[in-house]
């Protein structure tokens, strides 16, 4: 109806208004004619009318009326039509806009509804379903809307699973349950990540069913941070014209959905994890409690409640320490709590108390809980170790009982065994035939072995039973070591092993302790060393490692060059009844208790034992003991060098490097100046250009033995009268020894005290080689350079030291050359021969030691200048270090005149030795007797 009316209004006005004008326009001429006729009193006739026209032509003007008014009507009508048209179009726009606004507000409402959903407590599934219900109310969808939401599978992100649907046909629910990416419309939308619109069932619509009705689709991918979460599918009528607003609205909805899904999934993950941990804590067999900053219990698990016999209500909000800590442990428990709250981990064992007063041994582990870096409480875990401790105590008691038994038994066995051994020894002294003697010998050896085993067992069980004590009486450590060495010396000699021992220089030797037990350990280690070494040497050394007041920590080392111990056996070594392996037992014998006993004894003496070993190279057993200095203790040898020995020149000849080092070390510590030679030949080279006050010769050397060397030395005029000390094994004097006059014989292992006594004795009666030089100046003066000319090279980078050395030498009548480093020394040696080099140890480019090393390599003994190390390091052992590095002598800085003179005097000029070999030595030979 309205439309018809509108149509009339729209098209009628022009014609209507025109005719209305025309009709109205007729009126003025008619009225004008009538008026004219009336006023002119004319009859109403045609003539009269024409007369009037002629009489008053103005009437013609009135005749235009219809035309004019018709035209005016036409224009008015058109105007009216235009106005109406304008109004209609405006109305239409308003309607359209209103619709749009309505739609948009509906979309907004849907979005709001979705957001409200996301705030609720719904599960993801419920949320999706309800969201879909809201989404299908989009106004431009058909009146019976259909749609669904697909989400990607959590197992495979390229599979879409139908999670919610609205009015979808039953067959579709099944066929669309699982859609791979790229398949059908939703799969394609997911893959392309773009909204896919179709207005009909086309070839892309792969999933169909019988009786499918024509329709179109919106497939909207749901994307969160570049990740496709799913697809929203909506049905539209076939041939639907998509409006851009629709896509926009759908995009907004998909965004909102994406956010909702992500948030809900995260929440569900969290909830799942929380559940997981809660279950873990709740079902954990360990008691777990969470304590807040104010030390009150926030939560705890079942195990906690059952361990401490409380109910949950009794625990929550209570102070943890009040609840389970016995009064006597309060202070400590508070400390733990505070430490944990301060951010520390706690791992302790302690006693806690249950509600009913039962004491429980627990292992407590506590960790601070930090949230955003701030400590908000402590999680404490209690393990009930009551049973464990009980079992441990029982086991210990059982072990002790066993050890007690063994100790008693061993004692019972030992008594008759001693009788057997004693009687067999007596029996051996009675007249026996060879066979009987052999039998008795076997009985006694077996008895000895058995006794040793029993002793071991006895000791071991005594220790295990806690009955072993160590006494504290004054003893001499040197004597202890020497007597231990005596016990293994015979065996070592049999195997031709060198036995050596080194006592740290100047160390005190009198301590409070248990010499018997210490010796037992040493003998054990030494006899092992000898047992497992087939060639080479066994060294025992001791040094002070630490001093606290009078309490000394002594560090012993027993080193061998034996078979070594495999790495994997090392850590079992000190366990009872263990030898490196059983085949070792068969080959070498022994109870396997020795080291275990040693370990316990050492522990009793406040020390530890450990071993370093290299298979095939040998082992070093280290151990320490704590010992108080015995009162009135002095060093075995005075710190100050003995006047008789100081400056005396000693030549040590031994093929064994360790022995050389030890002799050198000892003699150096007594102030002697020591040279060493590794063979008889080398020794003879030494005496070619050097004089000595004393020589110590080892008897057993390859090529030239000690005796032959001594005979050679005696042939040498310079050394014909030099006192000689012979080193032998076990004091067995070799045949023919009477042919050479030896001053003393020393047996290996070298014992410091014996060596010292022998050297003192030999040298006490003799003036030193230097003092015996008749030309020796009473005061040092410029004539020395003339009397004893030497070519001297000073290797020194320090200007002041150079000046001091040059100044002193000049005063003695020497001119010296200077080299600033090792390289310059080598250059200088290439240019000319020097008799002596005073070499600074620390020089740039090449230091003294390096230079000495090269010189020794390049120049044979007879062609080589004497090398004197000059060093400002007054470090202990420096002297030995330089001597063993090949230097012939040692001077400490600042250079003392006497030392310099001593060094110069003991230097024989190289060039002179062939022409005037005896010049400096002649005095020695005569005055020595």
């Amino acid at each position: 109806m309205e439309k018809v009316f509108q149509l009339n209004r729209r098209k009628g006005h022009v014609v209507l208004y025109f005719w209305l004008g025309v009709v109205l326009g007729i009126l003025p001429p008619v009225l004008a004619i009538l008026a004219e006729l009336y006023f002119q009193k004319l009859p109403f006739s045609l003539w009269a009318v024409s007369y009037a026209f002629r009489k008053d032509p103005i009437l013609w003007v009135f005749m235009l009326g219809p035309l004019v008014l018709g035209a005016i009507g036409y224009f008015l009508g058109r105007q009216q039509d235009l106005m109406i048209k304008l109004a209609a179009s405006l109305e239409e726009k308003v309607t359209q806009r209103t619709t749009e606004l309505q739609e948009s507000s509906q979309v907004q409402e849907i979005l709001n509804a979705l957001l409200r959903l996301s705030l609720g407590n719904l599960s993801l599934q419920e949320m999706l379903e309800q969201a879909l219900e809201r989404i299908v109310t989009i106004p431009w969808l058909p009146t019976d809307p259909k749609g669904g939401i697909f989400l990607t599978s959590e197992d495979n992100p390229n599979i879409l699973l139908l999670r919610a649907s609205h009015n979808m046909a039953a067959p579709l629910l099944k066929s669309c349950a699982r859609v791979p990416f790229g398949t059908c419309l939703c799969g394609r939308a997911a893959q392309s990540r773009k909204i896919l619109f179709t207005d009909c069932v086309d070839e892309q619509h792969e999933i169909r069913y019988e009786g499918i009705k024509p329709h179109g689709h919106y497939n909207v991918p749901i994307i969160h941070r570049e990740k496709v979460l799913g697809v929203l599918v909506l049905y539209v009528p076939e041939g639907h014209h998509p409006h851009p607003n629709e896509k926009e609205a759908l995009q907004a909805i998909a965004h909102t959905l994406a956010g909702m899904i992500t948030a809900r999934r995260a929440e569900e993950d969290l909830a799942r994890q929380k559940k997981f941990f809660e279950t873990l804590v709740q079902t954990s067999p360990a008691a777990v409690v969470v304590m807040s900053n104010d030390h009150t219990i926030q939560s705890c698990n079942e195990a906690f409640l059952s361990l401490f016999e409380y109910t949950l209500q009794e625990c929550i909000g209570q102070k943890l320490d009040d609840l389970i800590v016995p009064p006597e442990a309060q202070q400590q428990a508070q400390q733990y709590s505070q430490q944990a709250l301060a951010g520390n981990l706690i791992n302790q064992t302690a006693q806690r108390r249950s509600k009913n007063g039962r004491l429980i041994d627990v292992k407590i582990s506590a960790v601070p809980v930090r949230i955003e870096g701030e400590i908000v409480g402590v999680i404490a875990i209690y393990h009930d170790i009551t049973e464990l401790l009980k079992a441990k105590r029982e086991a210990e008691e059982a072990a002790k009982a066993k050890a007690d038994f063994l100790a008693n038994m061993s004692h019972e066995i030992r008594t008759p065994l001693n009788a057997i051994i004693g009687m067999t020894s007596l029996l051996l002294d009675t007249p026996l035939n060879d066979e009987q003697a052999n039998f008795v010998e076997t009985i006694r050896n077996s008895g000895d072995t058995l006794l040793a085993v029993i002793n071991d067992i006895l000791d071991f069980s005594k220790i295990e039973a806690g009955k072993m004590t160590v006494e504290k009486v004054p003893f001499n450590i040197a004597y202890c070591i020497e007597s231990a060495l005596d016990l293994v010396a015979a065996k070592a000699f049999e195997k031709r092993l060198e036995l050596v021992y080194v006592l740290q220089e100047n160390m005190p030797v009198k301590f409070q302790g248990d010499i018997t037990r210490l010796r037992q350990v040493l003998v054990n280690l030494l006899s092992n060393a000898v047992k497992f070494t087939s060639e080479g040497e066994v060294t025992v050394s001791v040094a002070v490692e630490n001093v606290q007041g009078t309490l000394h920590t002594l560090h012993f080392q027993v080193r061998d060059t034996g078979i070594g111990i495999p790495k994997d056996k090392l850590h079992h070594l000190f366990e009872a009844f263990s030898q490196a392996d059983t085949s070792t037992t068969r080959k070498f014998g022994g109870t396997g208790l020795g080291l275990a006993i040693s370990k316990r004894l050492i522990e009793l003496m406040g020390g530890t034992i450990w071993v370093e070993s290299q298979e095939g190279k040998g082992s070093t057993f280290h151990f320490t003991i704590q010992a108080e200095l015995a009162s009135g203790t002095a060093s075995l040898f005075p710190r100050q060098a003995q006047p008789t020995l100081a400056g005396r020149r000693l030549l040590v000849v031994d093929d064994n490097a360790t022995n050389r080092l030890i002799l050198q070390k000892h003699a150096s510590s007594w102030g002697m100046s020591v040279s060493t030679a590794a063979s008889g030949k080398e020794a003879l080279q030494h005496i070619e250009h050097e004089r000595f006050d004393l020589m110590i010769l080892d008897m057993q050397m390859p090529e030239m033995d000690g005796l032959t060397l001594a005979q050679e030395i005696r042939k040498h005029p310079a050394a014909a009268q030099t006192p000689l000390i012979m080193l032998t094994s076990l004091g067995r004097k070799p045949e023919g020894v009477e042919s050479v006059s030896f001053s003393a014989f020393l047996s290996k292992p070298i014992k410091t005290s014996q060596l010292y006594n022998a050297v003192c004795e030999v040298l006490a009666s003799r003036p030193s080689a230097e003092t015996a030089v008749p030309q020796k100046p009473a005061v040092f003066d410029a004539t020395m350079g003339d009397r004893h000319p030497l070519r001297i090279l000073i290797a020194e980078d320090n200007l002041i030291n150079q000046k001091v050395a040059i100044g002193l030498l000049k005063k003695l009548g020497y001119r010296a050359d200077i080299a600033a480093n090792g390289l310059e020394v080598l250059d200088a040696l290439r240019r000319q021969e020097y008799d002596i080099i005073l070499m600074d140890a620390q020089m740039p480019e090449m230091d003294g030691e390096q230079a000495a090393h090269i010189i020794i390599e390049r120049y044979p003994p007879g062609k080589r200048p004497r090398l004197a190390a000059v060093t400002a390091n007054a470090l202990e052992g420096d002297r030995e270090r330089f001597l063993s590095a090949g230097f012939d002598d040692y001077i400490s800085k600042p250079i003392q005149v006497e030392e310099l003179v001593r060094v110069l005097q003991s230097t024989v000029p190289l060039a002179h030795k062939t022409t005037r070999p005896l010049r400096l030595n002649s005095g020695t030979t005569s005055s020595g007797d």
Partner: protein
Amino acid sequence: MPLDPSAFEKYREFMGEDADAFIADIVQTFLASAPQALEEMKTLIAAGKRTEFVRAAHTLKSNSATVGANDLRQLCETMELQGNTLDAAALEAMLSQAVREYQQVETQLKDRLAK
């Protein structure tokens, strides 16, 4: 006491009439080289060149011993022995102590030379 007067006694006895010249030479060389050495040690600490630092400390130690500056020698020895292990701040503190010590030694040595 920064300076041990007996350090040169033995030399003096031995050198006789040459003693004064000899000692003056040594002392002057020391006075000329020690400030440089201390300066260099400072630079070496800053540059982290510990090996060179230890060497420099060693040299200064040796020279201090020669002129009888026992306290300075002691300080240098400590720096030499610990030059590789101590941190820079500790060494610098020790060094500045050595510089102060040296200033006393310098005054005394100069007094000695003037006599």
